[in-house]
């Protein structure tokens, strides 16, 4: 029973704003922390927080700069 294997959420590979590629560590940070500021354009990328009561949360959008 591996903890990640069935997590089908596709990692975001680039900043949705400036399209700069995200490093593998940034992808991990974004996946777990659900938010990340792009180093290149300072755009705040945010993903929906998955809580126990909200298993079907819809994908979120990035905040504005």
């Amino acid at each position: 029973m591996s903890e990640n294997k069935e997590n089908n959420e596709k990692p975001l590979e680039q900043c949705p704003h400036c399209k700069a590629p995200l490093s593998s560590w940034e992808q991990v940070l974004l996946k777990v922390d659900r938010a990340l500021v792009c180093k290149k354009c300072w755009y705040r990328i945010s993903l929906p927080v998955i809580t126990p009561g909200d298993p079907n949360a819809k994908p979120g959008k990035g905040d504005k700069k």
Binding site: S2, E3, N4, E6, S23, V28, V32
Partner: protein
């Protein structure tokens, strides 16, 4: 395990207990009691109520015993309430001036809010006499009281009252955060609930205490107490129903009267009706009905409830038994469908073991009644309960499938909750494949702290299984805290001796002979060795080790032991001796010399010891990982296309000793793994590739005590690795016929360790993993980092590849780029100039030079030279004179043919080093070595002089013509009247060393 479940485990249901920390936020801390002196006297019995409560809190391990303040007059109470903060007021029936009901009204009028919440503090009436209370109830409106209780001689009622109100305040929050369970108590008789409440709370708290033993560490144990079930007390049908509907997923059970109000009227069978209604929603919630009328027993059973007669002389005892059995407090009793007991489980581990052997009939019996999930809930294992509760027996193909589902969930959970935490070592809960635990108090030391932090990062960010088929982890370990070190020194009276003695052999001997080893630790080590029977690395973790500016890299010992003797006492003795040797190494001259150049005092240093499972596979009497290495997030010597921020990695076949002690390694940038600059030509590859490798020898003569001081490693030729089946992962083949190198070892020819199969053909994502880990480390530490690792590709079929992260520490990188014009100096004014310089700024305090002339140097005598340098270093450190060290070859290499094999502590007083070339060989500094780590941490200026490079210059004639103060073999000590001036520009990696009196003033 889906993502949702993982999140639950992460955020409160298991591993890190963040949710638990936020439980029971609202507490009653200050209580005002308004009572006559006589009431209080009755109440206190022997006048020690506060002490009794305090003792009870302590014995129940409840934190924060509340403070009690007593006044005898209502007027005093009102005044005090205006002046001070109280969380609750208890009024007895006899107040001197204002009658209790009137006093309660006046207090309510004050509208005192509870700790910033928008609710008033509770006002409670506590009666002592049944008749008097009945009288009051008949003639007064007592609704002004939040609750009325009657004192029947059990002082724990006070605790019951406090907990009852705290539960009311916290129920919503705590249920939502981690799903804390509740018991609904429906009782409208003041006397009855006043006796039930202390009993139920005591039972609940004792149940929580039983679970505390399973806590992972002290803070987890206390946090766990906060997750105890709550009591929701109600007096009417409607109130009880509201509780049930609000919290029905979290109700552990119901204890109810049968006769209580419904729709504002007394309803004789309200309890039966309520149970029947509840059964429609939840068929398996345990319900206990009570009545003074025994004729209700059958009716109770018909609605699936247990029954107790209130008049029974054993009522309270029976109530306790009911809770134990039906609320799953206590052991899990495995029964057959006919009720026969067949086994018991006392904790999660024994539950897992018992589940493997009990018959399917028993599992089916319990599963159909949700006994497993109830037992987990009652133990505050909400995540496990959640795993099982939604599933029915019919969801599984067979009961055996269900059995393995529960076992897998248990195993997974036990593993998960250990991860990322440094638990107190307990044999029962230690998982030899995952855990990181401690023995003894005190500090864990710098290295273990770094490992603990690394462990947290790997787990919190789910890095462990980020790459398919690869398990990235900190190898399981126990850490012996510094208290055991202190105890060992005290009990054997070694401290004074060790600090004074300058003879390492004598220190070693006395430490090994020390007869007393702290008993507590020995017991735990025996338990540990019973669980782990594979080779162990016994590593130092001193207080000062691995700090950014004084890393103590390579100063203290690491000892590897086979841990394979059939005699457990021999294994224990081998381990204890290794620990003693690590302790002894705290006082070796290496360490003493090192500390002298720091701002610390040696007596401040303490040693913790890490005992860690080694990564690797056993082959014919030896044990080693496929390869090991050191990765840095910053490359001090980038060669195009590398950039400094891309980092640099050094890897070698076998144990990491080859890398950290400066042997031949393969160096690559994780961003450009395919570009191996060191192998730019066939000749270069032949010259600079690894020739042999280190492994732990498992065939040491264990009876010979003198062997134990060795690190336990041995050098083996590459042929051995080829026979073991490890070489093909990392090697290429040299074809003599066409003077070419081919990746892999399928051809005939000489083998070369190039890592081409991994770095060029990507049979293993080494570069990707390291890139991720370096980013993670730099992010976590807020600094550039160095990571040591070992990888075992030779795992059994079906098992993941083992990527062990062995150490992480910050490194010092100087980013300042002071603008200095270094070009204006003519070479005639300079001792040296180089464009391969590490360091930044100006050094103008060096007047001593230790010079080893490459012209006259004999490479066969490098070891003797190291000894002489050590002596000169000790002398100069003692005199407080930093010096410039000039000599040929690679400094800090263990290979005596590559350079003078000094360790850092032998040259610890050097403030600047010039590495010049042998006449016949060019070597480059090994960035993976401990030596290099110390060099950067102490900001030592390091100049590399390359012959025939127009950007490099060294004035040997000037140096050779200086008068020398001391000469020993090839080593000269030169003392100048005025200091040298060293100027370095880190950005350009350029530097110059100016002769005394040749400084040019800046314009």
């Amino acid at each position: 395990m889906n993502h949702l479940d993982t999140n639950w485990v992460e955020h409160g249901y298991g591993t890190r207990f963040q949710g638990f920390q936020n439980l029971m936020r609202q507490r009653i801390r200050d209580i005002l009691i308004v009572s006559s002196l006589y009431d209080l006297y009755l109440f206190e019995e022997d006048g020690r109520l506060y002490e009794l409560i305090r003792n009870e809190y302590l014995s129940l391990q409840l934190s924060h015993a509340p403070e009690l303040t007593r006044v005898s007059k209502g007027y005093e109470a009102i005044t005090l309430l205006k002046e001070r903060v109280f969380d609750m007021v208890i009024i007895t029936l006899h107040t001197e001036d204002i009658p209790p009901v009137k006093l309660a009204s006046l207090i309510k009028e004050l509208d005192i809010k509870f700790a910033g919440l928008d609710i008033r503090i509770p006002v409670v009436l506590l009666a002592f006499d049944n008749r008097e209370l009945a009288d009051l109830l008949r003639h007064s409106d007592v609704s002004v009281f939040d609750k009325i209780f009657i004192w029947q001689g059990d002082f724990r009622l006070i605790i019951g009252i406090i907990k009852y109100f705290e539960d009311k305040l916290n129920i919503d929050h705590d249920t939502k955060i981690v799903g804390v369970q509740s018991i609904i108590l429906i009782e409208d008789n003041i006397r009855d609930y006043s006796s039930f409440l202390p009993i139920i709370y005591t039972e609940i708290i004792q149940q929580s205490q039983r679970l505390v033993g399973e806590g992972i560490n002290l803070s987890h144990k206390f946090l766990r107490m906060r997750a105890r079930p709550k009591i929701l007390m109600s007096q009417t049908y409607e109130e009880a129903w509201e509780y049930f509907t609000n919290y029905k997923e979290h109700i552990l059970g119901i204890i109810s009267d049968i006769d209580f109000p419904r729709n504002g009227k007394h309803q004789e069978k309200a309890g039966l009706e309520l149970t029947a209604e509840i059964r429609k929603h939840h068929s398996d919630i345990p319900v206990l009905l009570q009545s003074s009328d025994g004729s209700y027993e059958n009716a109770a059973h018909l609605v699936g409830a247990s029954f107790l007669r209130k008049g029974s002389s054993t009522l309270l005892h029976d109530l306790r038994n009911f809770m134990k059995q039906y609320f799953s407090f206590g052991d899990f009793i495995f029964r057959l469908p006919d009720g026969t007991e067949i086994a018991r489980a006392t904790d999660l581990k024994s539950m897992e073991q018992t589940l493997k052997i009990v018959p399917v009939d028993s599992i089916q019996f319990h599963a159909e009644r949700n006994h497993f999930s109830n037992w987990f809930k009652a133990r505050t294992e909400f995540w496990l309960a959640h795993q099982l509760r939604p599933k029915k027996v019919s969801d599984f193909k067979s009961v055996d499938d269900l059995r393995s589902h529960i076992i897998t969930s248990l195993r997974y959970y036990r593993k998960m909750r250990q991860r990322g935490l440094i638990a107190d070592f307990q044999k029962e809960s230690f998982d030899p494949n995952n855990s990181f635990a401690r023995i003894g108090g005190g500090s864990l030391g710098g290295k273990a702290r770094g490992l603990g932090f690394l462990n947290i990062l790997l787990n919190n960010y789910q890095i462990r299984s980020q790459f398919d088929g690869i398990e990235i982890s900190v190898p399981p370990a126990i850490v012996i805290g510094t208290d055991i070190f202190d105890q060992f020194l005290e009990e054997n009276d070694l401290r004074g001796f060790a600090l004074e003695c300058e003879n390492d052999s004598e220190i070693k001997k006395r430490f090994l002979e020390a007869s007393v080893f702290p008993e507590e630790a020995v017991g735990q080590l025996i338990a540990f060795l019973d669980l782990v029977r594979t080779p162990l690395a016994v590593r130092s973790s001193s207080l000062l080790e691995d700090s950014q500016y004084h890393p103590f890299a390579g100063v203290y010992s690491t000892i590897m032991i086979p841990n394979n003797d059939h005699d457990p006492f021999k294994r224990l003795s081998e381990l204890v001796s290794s620990i003693k040797l690590i302790y002894a190494s705290t006082f070796f001259s290496n360490a003493k010399n090192y500390i002298k150049v720091t701002s610390y005092r040696h007596e401040e240093e303490k040693m913790a010891v890490i005992i860690q499972k080694m990564v690797g596979t056993q082959f014919n009497g030896r044990f080693y990982p496929t390869f090991s290495g050191v990765a840095k997030s910053y490359n001090f010597y980038p060669l195009p296309p590398q950039k400094t921020e891309d980092g640099i990695v050094s890897v070698a076949l076998g144990l990491g000793k080859m890398v950290v002690e400066g042997g031949e390694t393969v160096r690559f940038s994780p961003k450009h793994p395919g570009r191996l600059i060191q192998f730019h030509s066939v000749d270069a590859a032949l010259k600079s590739s690894q020739q042999d490798f280190y492994a732990l020898s498992l065939l040491q003569n264990k009876d010979d005590e003198s062997n134990t001081d060795e690190s336990g490693t041995k050098l083996y030729p590459l042929d051995t690795a080829e026979q073991d089946g490890t070489l093909h992962f990392v090697a290429s083949t040299y074809s003599f016929e066409n003077h070419s190198i081919y990746d892999g070892i399928s051809r005939v020819g000489a083998r070369l360790v190039t890592f081409a199969p991994i770095l060029k053909n990507r049979i293993f994502p080494l570069a990707n993993i390291l890139e991720l880990l370096l980013d993670m480390g730099s992010w976590g530490m807020g600094a550039e980092v160095e990571i040591e690792f070992a990888v075992n590709l030779n795992t059994k079929r079906g098992e993941p590849v083992d990527f062990g992260v062995l150490q992480m520490r910050p490194i010092v990188v100087s980013h300042e780029t002071e603008k200095m014009n270094l070009e204006k100096y003519e070479n005639t004014a300079l001792v040296a100039r180089s464009n391969e310089v590490m360091g930044n700024g100006v050094i103008n305090e060096i007047s001593d030079i230790v010079f080893i002339d490459p012209e006259h140097f004999d490479r066969a005598k490098t070891r003797d030279t190291a000894t002489i340098i050590n002596l000169m270093n000790s002398k100069l450190v003692k005199e407080g004179r930093p010096y410039l060290l000039i000599g040929p070859g690679r400094w800090g290499s263990l290979d005596q043919w590559l350079g003078i094999p000094v360790v850092w502590s032998q040259i610890s007083g050097a403030k600047a080093i010039i590495e010049c070339q042998f006449k016949d060989l060019k070597v480059t500094p090994s960035q993976g070595s401990h030596f290099f780590q110390n060099l950067t941490s102490f900001s030592v200026a390091y100049f590399t002089i390359t012959e025939n490079d127009k950007n490099c210059h060294i004035d040997y004639n000037w140096i050779r013509n200086l008068p020398f103060e001391d000469e020993n073999n090839f080593v000269k000590l030169i003392r100048l009247e005025k200091p040298l001036i060293i100027k370095m520009n880190a950005g350009q990696k350029m530097g110059i060393i100016i002769k005394p009196s040749e400084e040019v003033e800046d314009e």
